[in-house]
Structures are given as structure tokens and as C-alpha cells.
Symmetry: D2
Subunit: 335 residues, 4 copies
């Protein structure tokens, strides 16, 4: 998705960057408060499919890393690359005053921050803690409170873009924080992503990520419409062109079309390999569902999208790109 995202950013261009300058300007003091910040080591906790390439992009920009992960082989890879590996999040906090966490679930994040050997056990005053995990906004707010008590700064900065964008350094970061530290975050996040978007108070980064529930809805809608149109006798390429000229157009129809043969260079052109897995989409939709329930927000289509990706995961689509929902529906034809 990175490619299209970059294009989008370019398109909305100036407005977008000017939006970003204000906080940057406002927080020079904050940046200086960490002397020579740019060369001091950065802690990184969680080196999985996403965290691994993200950490390597920080290395490319010359940041020495303090590494922690539960999986030793992962740690060894970075140790061999000359980075320092420690044995707990607490130890990371002892050696680095800027830490990035990239963990799979809310539970893992809570453990890494508030656990027996968590960051909070040894975090230094004034430290900058950036959580790029995609978790429940309510959990982000809770962690922020605890971090604040220790005199440190917490921000949620979940990403969109998937593994490809993580490798190429083209992720989009959605940042929620008090704003006066936004520039300090940009310095590091800018090494891993092409878009760093300020979303508001802590938790709004997760909130913005959650709203990408719209992507799941429009992708399924595109798959349903393309499948129906093809059955009604339309040529797939022509149908895609008509949709993209009409008010039905969306990123899923004009940039990431799910129908094989309509576009090149997208997962549907490569048997739905790569891209953003159905499992990850199901997880994100679960978070959206939880937030909707707790805020009593009706999400009729969001709920259905959630259930559909749940089913796909169980029917052997877990690893396939989420646009494979077209294939999932298409099989229906074999009546």
C-alpha cells in the first residue's frame, strides 16, 4: 500500500506538511532536552515481521540500538549485526531514553511496560516511549498515565502499510500525544515511514488506525460489486474502469483491485501473495468492534466485515492478502 500512500501524501501535499510543521516548531526545546539525541542509542522492543525491518531502518540512519525480544534467534541476528541485546524491557529502559515498542497485542504491550521486568521498572525521567503496536486505545491511555507518573513521555504511533512498507521505510505513522513532543518523535519515525501524521491526544493514533475499518468495508464492497458485475456479463477491466469513473470508486477499486487480471503489481495479480494478510485485517477489525461496543457506536457494515474476515481466516485465507475476499466470494460461483 505504501506506493499509493506516498502518492496520496504528495497529492494532499502542502496542507499536509504545513499541518506537520507547527508541532515541530513548537517543540525544539523538548528535542534539545535530550543532548545529542540523534546519536544516543534507541531502544527497540519487539522485532517481529514489522519490528525487524523497522529497527533495521533505524540502524541505516546510524542509530545504535538496545534490543529486546522474547525470541532469542531474533536477538542473535541483531547481536551479530553489532547491536546491544539485553534481557528485559527494564534493561532497555536503563540503557536508552528513547524506546520504540512494536508488539502484537494489548496484553504484550501491558507486559512490556507494566510487567515484572517492564520498562516502567527502570525508565528514566524525560524518556520518550513510542508504542507502534496496534492495540486498544483504552490501553494506550492507561499506559500513558503510568508512564507520566514516572516523569516520562508516552505516545501511541500505530502504523499502516504492512511489511512491504516497513522494509522500504514507507510506513504511515498515526501519532497520538500531547503534541509538544511530536518533533522528537518525527526524528525517529521519519526514518521508518514516509508519513507521520499527528492525530491528537494519546489514543487518537490508535483511533485513527481503527477507522481504517473503512478499508475492509470498501474492499469487500469492491469484491461484491466486481463479482456481481462479472456474473451479469461485464468485462472485469471495463467494469473496473466504469467504477473508477463513478462515485463508487475507492482505493480498493482504483489502486488495489482485487480481481486478477485487472491491475498489475498488486496481490491479486500474484495469487494474493504478499500484501496485508486476512488475519491482520481480522485482528484490526476486532479492535474496531471492541471500541464500537464500548462507545456504543453502531457499525452495521463494520461488524459484518469483521465476521467475514474471521470466516476467511478459517477457510485457509489467513496468510493471503485481504483482497482475496474476491476469491472467497468467487468460489461461490462453483454452485
Amino acid at each position: 500500500m505504501a506506493a499509493s500512500l506516498r502518492l496520496c501524501a504528495a497529492a494532499s501535499g502542502l496542507r499536509y506538511w504545513s499541518r506537520r510543521q507547527r508541532p515541530a516548531a513548537a517543540s525544539l526545546a523538548a528535542v534539545c532536552s535530550r543532548s545529542m539525541a540523534s546519536k544516543t542509542p534507541v531502544g527497540f522492543i519487539g522485532l517481529g515481521n514489522m519490528g525487524n525491518p523497522m529497527a533495521k531502518n533505524l540502524m541505516k540512519h546510524g542509530y545504535p540500538l538496545i534490543i529486546y525480544d522474547v525470541f532469542l534467534d531474533v536477538c542473535k541476528e541483531f547481536q551479530d549485526a553489532g547491536e546491544q541485546v539485553v534481557s528485559s524491557p527494564a534493561d532497555v529502559a536503563e540503557k536508552a531514553d528513547r524506546i520504540i515498542t512494536m508488539l502484537p497485542t494489548s496484553i504484550n504491550a501491558i507486559e512490556a511496560y507494566s510487567g515484572a521486568n517492564g520498562i516502567l521498572k527502570k525508565v528514566k525521567k524525560g524518556s520518550l516511549l513510542i508504542d507502534s503496536s496496534t492495540i486498544d486505545p483504552a490501553v494506550s491511555k492507561e499506559l500513558a498515565k503510568e508512564v507520566e507518573k514516572m516523569g516520562a513521555v508516552f505516545m501511541d504511533a500505530p502504523v499502516s502499510g504492512g511489511v512491504g512498507a516497513a522494509r522500504s521505510g514507507n510506513l504511515t505513522f498515526m501519532v497520538g500525544e500531547a503534541e509538544d513532543e511530536f518533533a522528537a518523535a518525527q526524528e525517529l519515525l521519519g526514518c521508518m515511514g514516509s508519513n507521520v501524521v499527528y492525530c491528537g491526544a494519546v489514543g487518537t493514533g490508535q483511533a485513527a488506525k481503527i477507522c481504517n475499518m473503512l478499508l475492509a468495508i470498501s474492499m469487500i464492497g469492491t469484491a461484491e460489486a466486481m463479482n456481481l458485475g462479472i456474473r451479469l456479463g461485464l468485462d472485469p477491466k471495463l467494469l473496473a474502469k466504469i467504477l473508477n469513473m463513478s462515485s463508487g470508486r475507492c482505493w480498493s477499486s482504483d489502486t488495489y483491485n482485487p480481481v486478477p487480471g485487472v491491475m498489475d503489481g498488486v496481490p491479486s495479480a500474484n495469487n494474493y501473495q504478499g500484501g496485508f494478510g486476512a488475519t491482520l485485517m481480522a485482528k484490526d477489525l476486532g479492535l474496531a468492534q471492541d471500541s464500537a461496543t464500548s462507545t456504543k457506536s453502531p457499525i452495521l457494515l463494520g461488524s459484518q466485515a469483521h465476521q467475514i474476515y474471521r470466516m476467511m481466516c478459517a477457510k485457509g485465507y489467513s496468510k493471503k492478502d485481504f483482497s482475496s475476499v474476491f476469491q472467497f466470494l468467487r468460489e461461490e460461483e462453483t454452485f
Copy 2:
């Protein structure tokens, strides 16, 4: 929607026009077969909200009209304007060899063509019959067969764009026919619309229209995502910008945003007045539902969108623009 549609056409520019030239070139003969076609009268049956302004655009281009409508006052308006009014579709067919029909339902279309005093009773060999009604593709195919038996040509050419586009002559026509008469159709349709898209065999125009079911899905999805994000603390304008930079973007979020205050010049900025009424959306979704059932195509989200617009119509939203689904959901907040 007309505005955005024009932009889209401009954007996809060349490819799109070249696509249109081929059939045009291929059918010069067909055009000439109606000597001086451009000045001979054109029949128009169905002068309702859409048909009325469409017919007037033909008048502006100097086409004399042969009018028929079940409502006499409507006929009188055109009679006073100097057009000829007759007393049945059959009489229209007797006086004109090019006829446009714009009727509300499949039943009305069947009556106008195959009824006791229908077009087919007096249609001339070689006549061009263009049905711009939005109806069941299966019915279009049936009518085409009957018309062919009489040695005339039938094409389905439903429109998108709504009343505003009908008035300004910026409709999009989706045309289904044997192709060799496409240019002949363009000559007339071009007076009423800014886009005339060739979709394939008879019925594919209706099929393409039906696929705009995707618009309903992405609009509801946008409303759900915006509503959820706002409840989670995001600023509506900022959220819209983030969505439009991300893979969740769609026409409903970047061109026709349903949240008041986010964009100017859209129905949501004007208490959802004007635009495309929820009732019309419900009707179109009903056709999509019928086609999906008859072709056994699964449309999980399309079905829900259909039911949601049904409910809105009954809760006092019939006349409001279809983007008022945001207001419909938002009321939920008053918990």
C-alpha cells in the same frame, strides 16, 4: 455528483476517450441510415424529475420532440414550449424513429414497449430505441429481443448523476447494445450527459448501474468510520484528511464527505438537501439485490446496505441525500 464525475473522466482522460472512438468510427453507416437524422424529431416518453430536464437539453440542441407522459400537466408544459404531444407510446413510435424512454420501474418500461398501445405496436424498421430507465437487466434483454423482432434497435442506457446532473447535462450514461449503433446513441446522449460509456451487450448498462451498489456500501462505511472516530476523540476534519491519505479513502470520504463541517458544497454542508435521495438509493439497491439473488452472487454488505436505506426511508430520510446515513447513525449518540 456530476462535478466529481466530470473530474474523474478528465483524470482517466485519454484511455477513456480512445475507448469511445472505436464504436463511433465503426458505425458511420448506421448513423447515415437515418438521413438527416440530426434534425428529424426525437420521441421522448417519461417526463418525470429526470426525464423532464433531459428532454429540455435535447430541445436546447435543436431537436424537435414527440412527447408522451401519463401526466397531462407535464405534457402541457412541453406543448406550450412548442413540442408535439401525442396520446400513446405507439403514436410516438409512429412519428419518430429515435425514441428515448425514462421510466420509474420495470413494469412501466414493459407497458411502454409491449403494452396495448406500446411502442412495438407502431415502431418503424430501423428505429433506435434507447431506454434510460434503471430497471432489471433481465427485462432489458427481454425488451431487446421483442424490439429486434420488429427490425428496430434497442439499447439500455441508465444514468448516474441525479437531478442536478440531468439539469446541467452532465449525466453519465452506461450503454449496453450491439455496439455498431453506439455512435448513433452518442449523438443524442451527448446532449444530455458528459460521459457516455460503452458497457457491452444489451443489459450490461443496467449491470454497470447496479454495481454502483458499491457507492452505498462505501458511503455507509465512511459514515460508520467517521462516527466511530469522532466518538473516540478525533477531530472530524483531521480524521477525514487521515482517511483520505490512507487506503480507506473513497469518493464518499474525499469528495462527498457525509459529516457536516468537513467539506463545503456538498449536501452534508446543507442539511442533506439536494443530491441523491435515500429513496432512490433504496430502489437501486433493490435491483442489485434481485440480480444478486437470480445470479446466486453473495452480497453480504450489499444486502445490509439495502436494508439500511430501507429503514432510513421509513425514518424520515426518504427525501434527504443518501449521505444523511451519517446523521441516521449519529442520532444513535443521543443515548
Copy 3:
């Protein structure tokens, strides 16, 4: 389902039968108008999975049959059994003044009645035409009008109960007609079913059948609730008992439980063999969907049930009993 249906009838007992007596009493004249009706031949059109055993039950009761079916081998079976086979619905109408039609779709029914060699071509005045097909109520009304013009009587009498009930003569017939011929219909339908229910004017039989959409909804709901409870640690049998003691109980939970091991003698105890196939349920839900759309009735859950059975059919569940939706959901577990 027959077994439980019989129990139900017994339960609602008297009220139900008294309801049935009135029309019976009221129409003696009508019955007599067909002298010696009980021994004159009965026409039967459509000898498929359902029609075949139904016709045999008529034979058991001593009714000579006039048979027509498009499949010759089926006809031969009855010919060998001594029944008279003819070559068109029209020929059936020439030889019998009481005809039962049991056809798969609306199209087939229209063909059998109004086709080139249809019943109406040679139907005798005063004939009784009973259509047990499950079709669109609107089509039933159309056929009734045409039949009436010929001075004959038409009634819709769709069945519930499936193949098992057809064999054992325990079907439930839902009859729509002018009422004064109800007794004449009971004489024949009583040979094939244990319940013959008067529903109102022509078309209401189909309407009642359509309302069994509720069965699909409660079966899926039962499967979802049982699956969720089991995952939450409840014992399936205990959970079933609790549900059946509570306000959530329904026929699907207390008589036809979809979870293997909970009940004996139901399809879930036999790898979902036999019973009522998912394909048939999908077809019935399609009819419900069409009627809901044409009457603008919101069916949010009915629509989803329809889509779910559509998907099941394509995932290899077509032939399995419709309670296999539990297995369909359960597979989800293999996450």
C-alpha cells in the same frame, strides 16, 4: 421435521381442527360437482424428489394417476406401475379434472400452466388445479387469474417437511385459495400430508411458506450460540438444556439441535445426511428476499441468513442438511 410437526399439530389440537372444519362444511357442493371425484384419475405434473413420493402416496390411496414429467425415466417408473403417462401438461388437463403440480421454480410453473402445451390449453371448466411448488406468491396470483378465466379453480399449496415427510405422508400443506374449495383440496392433500392449513386468499400459502425464513434465522442463531458457548467452556448437552429452559429455546435448539452428540435421530447425529438440504434453504430464502424487496419489508437477519446459506452451498454444503451451518461455523475454530 415431520415428527415434530405432527407433535405440534397434536399440541395445538382442537383449535386447529375446528379452524379447518368450517371451509370443509361450506364446500360440500363444490366437492359433489365432481361426480365420484374420489375415484376419477388425478393428474400429477413434476415427479422429482418431492413429487415422486407424493404421487405414490396418492396411488396408495387408490387414485389412478395421469402422469407428466420432462424426464422420461421418471415417467417410465410410473408407467411400469400401471399409471397412464401423457406427453404434455395439456394432455394431463384433457384427461383429469384434478391436477397437482410440483415444480422446482416459478419459471417451470409458468411453463406448465401457460406454456405452448400448458394445462390452460385444454383445462376443463370446474377443474381443480393445485400447485404445490414453492414459488413467488406474485406468480401464484397471476396463474390463479389465468386459471379463473378458464372457469377452473387454482390454489397454491406449498409444503414443508422435506423428502422424509413426503415419503411418510407427513407433509404440511399451506393452502391459499378462495376457501370454498378447501375441502376438495383436503381430500387429496390429506393423502400426502398430516397437516393441511388454510392460509387465506391465493398466494398466502406461498407467503406462509416464505415466513419459514424464521427457521433459517433461528437455526443459524442456535449454531452461533452453541458454538460460542462451547468455546467459552460449556458442555454442549448442558448448554442445550439451559437454552431449552430459557427464552432462547426454539425448534432448532430443542428438536433439531445442530451440534453432534446433543440429540439422537437428527441429521447432526448422522454427519448431516438427509433432512433439508442447504440448497433448498438458500432457494426458499431467495424467494423471501424477493418478496421482502417487492413489499419493501426490512429483513436484516433474513438477508444475512440468505447470504450465509448461499456461501455454504458453494463451500460443499449444498447436499448436507441445513443444520450443518454449525459445522460451517465450527470450522472457523481451526484457526
Copy 4:
């Protein structure tokens, strides 16, 4: 609902009671461990719409109460009735070794047990803590662990039946616990309910309650089917009878029919006053949704039911009985 529930219990009769005897027999020792248990005071925390009448039924059976509620006026009512009121859950735990908690949400329950002045601060070894709140099963398990650490016993015992059943002492309790204390619980719960059902380990009581999600699904399904049938021309009473004779029958159709005029003595016969409010149903469905998401259980219809009750609450149905979903759909007719 109490009435029908009693009937059900009677129906499933013996099996059900024998099921209940085993644990009872098995835990005599447990009971004796609280000498003269029957006359020692019982703690009661949470005297809301449900808790208030429940506590009064304990008083009727001669149990002195130790009361705590955040609302003083509620406490005063019991004080005037001669019961002892204390100022925190901790104080309740100091004065009573059997405590019943009846609180609105998971948060309230956590506060009452683990809060600064929570039960656990002063709970005595061997105390019996029964939580009748309807909350997340995961929370119940957490609380049980903490209680166990203090050497006390915790069980979850949510109820079904609503305010009416609470007043008449006809609630159904769904109990989750280690089983050897079941009899001890029955002694108290039997004063407030007519059914006390053992469900399994801690959390399974909540799980069973959650499965009543099936009630919401079948009620909406009944409303959709009745509404559709009526629009298709069926008489409501006749349609209800047909449904109840068929495999579509459920508690919502045969005992609590949502259509005015079909049954007497149900909320639909009284403008949907009394009964079980739509808000409470929406809350229970929210819990079901959370459990389904965390266990990755697909609940396609359950999710929709959840969203539908959310919308109803916002459209002015919050206080109406949940069967008013028929009215909610019916309004749709006013097209």
C-alpha cells in the same frame, strides 16, 4: 418471562432436578462449614432495579442483611426496614461471610471486589461470594482467582427473567463454580429464583447468560417474519399459529409474540411496557460480542442483532420491551 421459564422447567422436569441433586449431595460438608448458616446475616451489594427486589426476597425468607450501595436513598429504604447499612464493600465483608453482589458493569464489579475499599480488603476465610452481575466471563475468572487467594469461594451466578421475575422470586440463576459449593449457593439463590442451574467452572454462568444472545436473534427473526407475512396478506393470528406449528416456532413466536393482538398478557399487548428493556438487551449483546471477538467465534447474526438493538435504543425504544423490535420494523411501512 418468568412464567414461561417455570413452565419450561416443569416440562424438562425430572432430568433437570436430578441434574441438580448431585452437586447438592456432594457438598453437605461445605454447607456445615458455616454453622447455623441459615440465620447468619447475608451481605448484599448493589440494590438497583434488580438487586432491590432480590434483597427483599432474602428478607422475606428471614435473612438479616448487611447492605451497601453507592446511592444513599436506596440504603435508607433498607435501613428503615431494619437492615444494617455499612459504608463500603469491605465493611460488608467484615460483617458477613456470605455476600451477593448485583452490579451493572464489569468495572463496578472489579471496584466492589478489588477496589480500595473492596470486599477483598476484609473478606474472611471460607466466605461465599456470589456475583449475580452480568459481566465479562474473563472478569469473573479474574475475580475468582483473587478471591481464592484469600481462602474464600467465588461463583458467578447471573440471572435471566428481568425485574418481574426478580420481584416474584422466579429468576433463573446460571451458576459457574467448583461445584462443591453449589448447594450452599442454592440455599440463598433458591429464595430469589425458581431455577438454579449448574453450568460448570467459574465463568460458565456468564457464558450461559451470553448464549441467550439466541433470544435476541429469534425475536428479531420473529418480528421480521411476522411483518413480512402480514405485508404479504396473512392474518397475524393465523400466521402466528402456522409458525408455531412449523419448524420456525420459538419462544418469541409462541410465548412472547411481538405483534399486538396476537397474544394477551405479553408486552406487545400493552404497548411494549414492562418486560425486558431494549437497553438491557443491547448491553447483553455487547458482552456476547466481546466474548465472540476474544474467542474468535463467528457470530454473523449475533453481531447484527447487537447493532439493531443499539439503533433501537437511540430511536426512543430504550425503555420499551425488546419485543418492540416489531414496531421498530413496522414503522418501515410508513413509506
